[in-house]
Symmetry: C2
Subunit: 483 residues, 2 copies
Amino acid sequence: MCKGDDTSCPHFELHYKKLKQDLNAERRGFLKSGLFAAGGMATLGAGGISLVTPALAQATTSKLPAQRAYHYLPANAETVHWGYFSKSLKPRIEVNSGDIVTIESLTHHAGDDLERMVEGDEGAESVYLWTKEKKGVDRRGAGPTDPAKYKKGSGEGQGVHIMTGPIYVRDAEPGDILEVRILDCMPRPSGNPKFGGKSYGVNAAANWGFHYNDLLGGTKREVVTIYEVDIAGGKSWAEAMYNFQWVPQTDPFGVTHDTIDYPGVPVDHSLTKRNYDVLKGVRLPIRPHFGTIGLAPKEADVVDTIPPSYTGGNIDNWRIGKGATMYYPVSVDGALLSVGDPHASQGDSELCGTAIECSLTGTFQLILHKKADLTGTPLEELNYPMLETQTDWLVHGFSYANYLEELGPSAQSDIYSKSSVDRALRDAFRKMRHFLMTTKGLTEDEAISLMSIGVDFGITQVVDGNWGVHAVVKKDIFAARTA
Amino acid sequence: MCKGDDTSCPHFELHYKKLKQDLNAERRGFLKSGLFAAGGMATLGAGGISLVTPALAQATTSKLPAQRAYHYLPANAETVHWGYFSKSLKPRIEVNSGDIVTIESLTHHAGDDLERMVEGDEGAESVYLWTKEKKGVDRRGAGPTDPAKYKKGSGEGQGVHIMTGPIYVRDAEPGDILEVRILDCMPRPSGNPKFGGKSYGVNAAANWGFHYNDLLGGTKREVVTIYEVDIAGGKSWAEAMYNFQWVPQTDPFGVTHDTIDYPGVPVDHSLTKRNYDVLKGVRLPIRPHFGTIGLAPKEADVVDTIPPSYTGGNIDNWRIGKGATMYYPVSVDGALLSVGDPHASQGDSELCGTAIECSLTGTFQLILHKKADLTGTPLEELNYPMLETQTDWLVHGFSYANYLEELGPSAQSDIYSKSSVDRALRDAFRKMRHFLMTTKGLTEDEAISLMSIGVDFGITQVVDGNWGVHAVVKKDIFAARTA
């Protein structure tokens, strides 16, 4: 029986509710960490078609500890790294395969409305703290941290996402696959009593957007729209509150930002003109998801969070929300998983540069599949991040599948001028072919025919340096296949 | 009340069933043409949000004849044109705005299995007739028709689709919008008693596919897969029957085709090796739709059917099926609508060059909106083909929005080397911006924000010369908007 951790179980919602009650009891008892009896093999790959075959589930389960731990990782200045992945980062927690972790994740756009998205929220306040003397989190990005070398700020904004973690997964080694099940995903309520019971998000039509050099009349402007996001679950949509055009903002260290070029700059609204007549009557169903979940790559020590790569990262696919399972190839010991870039909603392409950037809290189960157990299974040779939902499998193509390796020493700057959707489609085609041939045992000719008649290719994003195309194939077309 | 012609009516299926009974009675009585009382304004824009506002519906309806005619246009050598659009073609039928037309449409890939897709089917036999002395339809494509000038065959295969029509819509003039409602869409049963009650389609992984120069091992091959397609409606899926690799085929006029380079070449299966062990257990839900519905463009006289353009044509979006409504800008007097390229199923991107190419019969209602009535309505200034479904609006971007105009005299050859998904995305962005600003009265900033958080951009096709990206926006996000 599903223990509330198998999203493909028909009774997942009921089982998860029970698990949550248990977790809450654990949390009250053990404060941020607890242990409970593991469900054993039945918790893995129990329902429907999954990439995890029964044999693999058994091999993986045999390595789980007898008891499963529950962890709670809040987001604060001590538990986040801002704008970069690094294999050298000290893990915030260590977990065993099978453990469940609740992870708080903060949006890096909360500076656009501190009153609604930071004030009164202890964790967010510690991260966003920025006075003349001190920054709660100084480094933001993979750039220089020496004040003599940077112009915009420490880390230079070469990477922007507030990442909670990393999480060290015991026994994880290069060549293994880390399965990440998203059991739950909820918007974070405003900590400000003035906005109690509500949540907020930001959409910035920014200079890195696909639209930016193509505005009517040839003007250039960045426009930030603040959205109210349903958290009661009753409405399940977002509505615009107001927007404003970005005007130069001087940060507490005295640097003026003419454009949105450094994350977390606190916006002084005495300088902006807020327009409350925006998208009246437009109600957008929300699709809460994490824009960036990734492992530390081995190729470089400090890596910009913006371009996605083979270890995941900033994939920006709105389908990576509650009920989804991701599979990531492990690149370094301990896997070093971090979670950030939470979104309330996004469209395929993320056209203007951002989604509705909105803090979320997620609950995840992390399951390690050892390399030796992968032989002959669908996960063998998986060297790209793969998404499984209740109904679909998705591969993620990028302009460069592993840009750090392919573009060499200057990869982290070069990637921003070399992307195209065409290249990302090429990569998605190759990955889907690999998936269909490896996982389903199709010949190349079968795979290619099926891709043309039954696989949908969509534009994931064109704003993250390394552009993305995803390919979606429905699981049920294989329901009658025995091979 | 809906008269069975408003697909957004909640009781459409019931009403359409009634209409069909009436039509069948008419057909029996009047043989291929009939008249029945028009439903009046209530038949237009009656249910849900539509691009046709009540005022426009009233203006349009006031111009309808008191009686609505029903027409039946079979597909045969007399009613099709193969591989080209032309403003000079003699119309096969003339209709009034509001009329309903059933149109048979034949796939141009039936030569790959004549036994299943042509034999015993009188219409298809007349079109596919090709002996040493005679071709049922000689010209296939927009190329030269003089035997001294062509190498592959008349028309040179510069354009491949068998188009039924054109249909002349009375009073249609440049600047008007033709609304085409797809009321029904059914696979055509095999005419061969050996395959009674079944329907068949073809997927060709062809030389113009995105995969062709990227096969494993660097080989080059074209592979044709024959699919059986459900027509009873009980299964609603397609299954592969067999595949074969293309081998040189000599047509009845003595030209040898080393690759798939001319439409309708009858395949001699004594030369092929049929492989019946293909995609065992894979069952693909079908999505019957028309790859190519379009009006004759004014820019040139004989126009290749392959690249889509502002008058529609080969858009290859699988959502253009039963229940969908298309809006096309009229380019020449009478609109000159033709229908072809029927598909049983296709994935977004049509990666290998074709869908499941399968003859279909559709029933359409054609409604003319006069230019003078469009002012201030969502259809004002619509200069691109637009799709409306029950739930969504879609714009279609192309690498070149109007390639005939943009690329000049050599457009019809140049277009094949100039496309990119990036360009098509650019065009889709601009069109969606135009749509949101015109139709919904949004400002540019509102439109851009909404596009990033709530509009999905997908890859329609990368195999039709002029590549396509579609943008999908859900209607219900506007349900509460009064503007």
